[in-house]
Symmetry: C2
Subunit: 118 residues, 2 copies
Amino acid sequence: MVQYGSSPLDLSFAALSDATRRGIIDQLGRGDESITSLADKFQMTLTGMKKHVQVLERAGLVVTQKVGRVRTCRLGKRGLKAEAAWIEAHRKLFEARFEALDDIISEMKQEGSDDSAS
Amino acid sequence: MVQYGSSPLDLSFAALSDATRRGIIDQLGRGDESITSLADKFQMTLTGMKKHVQVLERAGLVVTQKVGRVRTCRLGKRGLKAEAAWIEAHRKLFEARFEALDDIISEMKQEGSDDSAS
DNA sequence: TATACACTGAACTATATGGTTCAGTATGGA
DNA sequence: TCCATACTGAACCATATAGTTCAGTGTATA
């Protein structure tokens, strides 16, 4: 039996699965921003933006700091190392599979029956 | 205003945000599997496993083919290229930010007020 | 001091996710 | 032919997500 507990990757990949949040990361790559300016840029309520930022923060991708009444958001120091590592390791897995099985696969496709059924 | 539509990355990052599904990819890297054998290995009902496989399939990470009564799952040809590309591009963004701002940040930390408030 | 600004939190909506059970359908083998 | 196997689909549950509105709190500033 294979057992997998939940991990930090759960949080970061989930954070990255939303286009708005990937956009926020793009934006913060260009410079720090307040919640308000992000909300403006993404045409969203303050509250909505705050939630997105919280998701990114829980994932460690973004760090925030409140000074006065302004909360400033910037990219988190931990970066995307763990995610890059997982993806790279598995990208190789995919490729290894295809080097080994390329011809077998096309062979299977020939004799294939149902394929792609619901 | 910054506008981001939904993209294939939404589906693949969401697919990767679950430890079971990342485990399935690990497993398929070692060889093709039927839904039943995956369900056994991950101690889950057939129906539950089928759903996970469908999520991976919609994301293009896994391909399935039904022959007789067995549906065989294998890694999808499209692999993790797009995901790797996004992560790599942004990993550089993170690093660039820190090279430029490392000292400014630690300076901000000194004078910081609230930090890490809810 | 009064006002405007930036955020925060609670509450609500609609939809998705991760899982189950149960009742099928279709296939392979004795 | 009969039975077990492998999957499929519908229905249900609990929880999470993406967004909203509304009613605050705390901070700058005129």
